[in-house]
Symmetry: C2
Subunit: 341 residues, 2 copies
C-alpha cells in the first residue's frame, strides 16, 4: 500500500510534519504555459478535451510541486451536461442563454444523459493520474445553490435578483431545480471517485449572498445531502469551501465534511480551537498577499504557520483563487515558504 | 423632558412595545420626490445645501413615518473637507482624482479647516430637527478603513489592490492616513452631536474585504477609538454597521457600540441570545425581500418579528441599503407591517 501523502494525512488530522500546500485556481491564467494552451483553445474545449485538461492540471505541479493537484474543469459542466448551453463571455463570465426560470425551461434537460456527457471529466482524471506520480488529485463540483444561481440568473450580477425572487416567491420550484442538480452532482462526484481522485472539494462560491436562514435551506442542506449521498468506499476526504459562511457552522450541527476550506475573513486559529474534533481546516491567506513583495509573503506565511503549528489538520491555501494578474514568481515564494517550513 | 421614542428605547434595550423601524438609504433614488430634487442638483450639491439635505432627509418620514430619520449626507464628506477633491461618476461611484498613495499626497490636506468646511452638515441637522417633530435623527460617518479604501484606491474596485498593498507593504503610512481620518471623524461626530442628532451610526461597508487579522488592526481598532473619543454628554446611542464581520465579535472583547447593525448573513436570533448583555441589534432583512410581493414581505416580516419578540433591544432594518430600482409601495408594506405588529 502506498504511503499516505502529507495532504491526505492533514485531511485526516494526522499530520505531524509541515502542513501541505496547494492553491485554488493554481491551474490558471497567471501561468504563461497555461496562456499558451489557452491561446489555441477556448475554455470549454479545454475542459472537454481530456489530454488538454490533464496537461493544464499538471502545469502548476511541474512548476511548483504543490502537495495536491486539482483537476482542471468547471463547476458549470453539470448544467451544461444536463442540456443547458453554456458559453463564456469576456468581462461577463459564464452565460446561459437559456436560463431556467419556469418549469417549462426544465424540458431542455435530459437527466439520464448527463453522466455520459461528462465522461470527458473521468477520462481527464485517468490521464492526469497516469502522469501525476504520488501527488494526490482533487476532484470537485459546485454546490447546487452556486450552480443554480448562474443557471437561473443567466449570468451572475451582484444583486442575485432572479434567484432571490425565487427563494421568496417560488422556493418549491427552486428546490426542484436544485434537487436535479444535487442528484447529478452526487453521480458526477461518484464517477470522479471511481475514476481515481484522491479527494473531493465542493465549491459554494456564492454562499455569502444568502441570508443566514436561506443558507441553511439552500446551501447547508444540499451540501450535507451530497456528502451523505457519496459512494465513497475508501473514505477519501471531502473538502467544503463555502465562501463567507463558515462562521455559521458553530450555530448548526457539525458538518459532514472532513475539511472546511475557509476564506480570509474567517479567524483560522479560533476555528481550529473551537471546531468539531474531526474537522480539518484549509486556507485562508488573503489572496492579495500574492501581490505583496516576496519578503512580506515569506514573513506572513511563516508567522501564520508558527501559529498553526500544533494543529495536525491544517492545509495551506488562499482564502479564494489565484487571479490572472498575479506574478508566478510570487506564487513560487508562497509555496516554497510552506515547503521549507 | 420629552418622552423617549421607540427607537431610543430599543437602542437602550428597554423597549416593551413593537420594534422601531427605519431603513438604510431610506432617503434615496427609489423615491420619485427624491429624483425630482436630484434632477436639478448633483449629489454633492445636495449634501452641501442644508435646505436640500434637510428636505431629502424628511421625504421618507413624510411618506412612511419611519421611527427614525437618517441625515442625508455621505461618508466621503470628510476626505473632501480635508482637501481631497471628490466627484461622482455614473457606473463608477465616488472618484478621488488625487488619491492618497504616498506621504507627499497628504500635503493636499488641511486638517484644521475640515470641520469648518463641514459646517453645512451641522446646519442641515439644525434645519432637519426643526421640521422633524418627535422623530429621532441619526447622524453618521464612515469608519476610517472604508473611507481610506475609497481615498487610496481613487475609486473602489473589487480587488482593493492598492489598500491591500499598503496593508502588507506600508501599514505605518496607511495608519498615518487613518489616524487623520479617525481624528477628523471624531470631531465631525462631536459636532453632529452638538448640532442635535439623537443617535450616531458608523458605517464600515468594506469590512468584509479584510482578513480577520487585518480587521482587528484596521477596522475594529479604529471604530473603538472613535466611540471612546466621542464627547457624548447625554449618552446618545452609537450604532455600528460593519458589513460581513460581526461574527468576529464573539472572538474579541465586547464592542463599545450600543447597537450592532447586522447584515443579512448574520444569524440575528443566535446573536440576540449570545451577544454581550448591553448591546442592542439592528437589521437584518435581506434587501432582496423588497423585490418580493407584498404578501411575502408581510409574511417574512411577521415571522421574524415573532421570533425577536422577547428581545427588548431590536430595531428593524435591512441588512444593507435600499436600491434605486426598488418599489416605494413595497417599502411601504415593509414599514407598515412592522408598525402594525
Amino acid at each position: 500500500m502506498q504511503k499516505k501523502s502529507l495532504f491526505i494525512k492533514a485531511c485526516e488530522k494526522k499530520n505531524d510534519d509541515r502542513p501541505p500546500v496547494w492553491i485554488m485556481r493554481q491551474a490558471g491564467r497567471y501561468l504563461p504555459e497555461y496562456r499558451r494552451v489557452r491561446e489555441k483553445h477556448d475554455f470549454i474545449s479545454m475542459c472537454q478535451n481530456p489530454e488538454l485538461a490533464a496537461e493544464v492540471t499538471l502545469q502548476p505541479i511541474r512548476r511548483y510541486a504543490m502537495d495536491a493537484a486539482i483537476l482542471f474543469s468547471d463547476i458549470l459542466v453539470i448544467p451544461q451536461a444536463l442540456g443547458s448551453p453554456l458559453r463564456f463571455e469576456e468581462n461577463k463570465g459564464p452565460v446561459f442563454d437559456k436560463p431556467i426560470r419556469n418549469p417549462k425551461d426544465l424540458e431542455q434537460w435530459k437527466e439520464n444523459e448527463a453522466i455520459e456527457n461528462l465522461s470527458y471529466v473521468y477520462k481527464a482524471i485517468k490521464y492526469t493520474k497516469e502522469s501525476l506520480g504520488d501527488t494526490p488529485l482533487i476532484g470537485f463540483s459546485g454546490a447546487p445553490f452556486t450552480v443554480a444561481a448562474y443557471l437561473v440568473e443567466g449570468y451572475v450580477q451582484k444583486r442575485f435578483q432572479v434567484i432571490k425572487s425565487m427563494i421568496f416567491e417560488n422556493p418549491t420550484f427552486l428546490k426542484q431545480i436544485m434537487d436535479v442538480l444535487c442528484e447529478t452532482t452526487i453521480a458526477h462526484l461518484n464517477n470522479q471517485i471511481k475514476a481515481g481522485v484522491d479527494a473531493i472539494q465542493i465549491f459554494e462560491s456564492w454562499a455569502n449572498h444568502l441570508s443566514c436562514e436561506d443558507w441553511k435551506t439552500f446551501s447547508y442542506y444540499y451540501i450535507e445531502k451530497i456528502i451523505k449521498g457519496l459512494d465513497n468506499p475508501e473514505n477519501i476526504p471531502v473538502i467544503v469551501f463555502s465562501k463567507g459562511s463558515h462562521f455559521l457552522l458553530p450555530h448548526l450541527k457539525p458538518t459532514s465534511a472532513d475539511v472546511l476550506s475557509l476564506d480570509e475573513t474567517c479567524p483560522m486559529l479560533d476555528m481550529a480551537k473551537t471546531i468539531h474534533k474531526s474537522v480539518a481546516l484549509q486556507g485562508n491567506f488573503d489572496p492579495a498577499l500574492i501581490y505583496a513583495s516576496p519578503k512580506i509573503i515569506e514573513k506572513k506565511v511563516n508567522e501564520h504557520l508558527v501559529k498553526m503549528k500544533n494543529f495536525k489538520g491544517y492545509i495551506v491555501n488562499l482564502g479564494h483563487g489565484l487571479l490572472p494578474d498575479m506574478d508566478p514568481e510570487h506564487v513560487k515564494v508562497f509555496v516554497e515558504t510552506v515547503k521549507s517550513f
